[in-house]
Symmetry: C2
Subunit: 231 residues, 2 copies
């Protein structure tokens, strides 16, 4: 695992926008169209994979002509990257930010795990986590999409490591805990639950994940640590 | 996770052999040719993915005509399945069987983890675990290849669970340990290390995995348990 190159930031300008007609996408109507395109593309990616996202499929889903899409996204890859960037924003707003409100120390680390679990369980009805599906699909395919997957993976790992540091500073974790090591272990449980759900479709795997996360943290908590909430 | 439907068995007849010309493949020369085809196909799959395994590519690698391959494998899928079945045999012989020789109880469970780690570290020079690569590639593609991936995943999980049971019976693990839960946690660390290596190419992740496996087991060992060897 490598340290993240940049902070998770929901407001960051999508890297995929390079070359996009800003004038068209920046009007209110243009923004609504762009959002509708990305929503349709996300639905295709969630059920069939990112490779299945094409101008033809999206135009068909929206009942518009392909030419109307080009003014928003110059290439298929720009559309795919914008879709992933929209997922990043959703993930930050759904998983990361809610846990920022929890008290510092172990509660904020556990808050991140808990909000991830809530997010993961909401993906069950959509066939699983979009990011997991794309990460598998592009695991052996170098390029800008794989680069974005690597970046999101590293950024989440960095966020976990910083919260472990905070919990150590608060005296809630035993001093021998190594943030890099514990972050790998927690992220392993999350990623594996997503992967197992993708392959087998049994949502019970998220309960195994919850218990795994909790028991790993309980084994390194100090007597001063507040209990893990919502177990 | 679902209980495995059958035991790992290195001598089991490959499911992919259905329709294969047994007369050709059963002569000593035929067996050597079959092995050469599978070796060439495995090298292609290891570097480019299973989908890249085609009769044309394998024939080119071996310097033979495509027609010579059809008498051994009637279809591309039969060749791909036979390649995975050969991997299963290799995995059983390399990872599972060596650990059968370790003393019963926790040493045999840790022996399975250790021999998996040795195997994983040998894959570093080949770009990672073949099974991990294929599992990612076919995670969203139902069919016989995905079925075989699911089966191998479940069978390894079942093997872990049985060894956890044995360690419980030997009094080496705390009685509250649940084999399904602990097997999920150990397998998560292994799968995530493989996945992270596939994506980032940093072999240090296997050391994170080793420490993760050891600390998880140490947290549930009884005072009667022998120490984990080779740490």
């Amino acid at each position: 695992m490598v340290a993240p190159r940049q902070r998770l930031d929901a407001t960051r300008r999508p890297p995929s926008d390079t070359g996009v007609s800003r004038s068209r996408s920046q009007t209110p109507k243009g923004q609504r169209t762009r959002e509708a395109i990305l929503q349709a593309a996300t639905e295709i990616a969630s059920t069939e994979g990112l490779e299945a996202v094409s101008f033809g499929r999206v135009a068909q889903a929206l009942g518009v002509s392909k030419s109307g899409l080009f003014s928003h996204f110059p290439t298929k890859e720009a559309l795919q990257l914008a879709l992933l960037d929209r997922f990043r924003t959703f993930f930050v707003e759904t998983v990361v930010e809610p846990s920022d409100a929890t008290p510092e120390g172990l509660p904020r680390l556990w808050g991140l795990c808990s909000s991830w679990l809530r997010y993961a369980e909401t993906t069950v009805s959509d066939g699983g986590c979009l990011f997991q599906r794309v990460a598998s699909e592009y695991a052996s395919r170098p390029g800008p999409i794989q680069d974005l997957i690597k970046e999101l993976t590293q950024v989440f790992n960095g966020r976990l490591q910083r919260r472990i540091h905070m919990a150590l500073e608060a005296g809630h974790l035993k001093p021998e805990v190594q943030p890099l090591q514990l972050a790998f272990e927690l992220q392993s449980l999350m990623g594996s639950a997503n992967g197992a759900f993708q392959l087998f479709g049994h949502p019970g795997v998220f309960e195994l994940c919850r218990r795994g996360l909790a028991s790993r943290l309980e084994s390194v908590m100090t007597p001063e640590a507040p209990p893990l909430e919502g177990l």
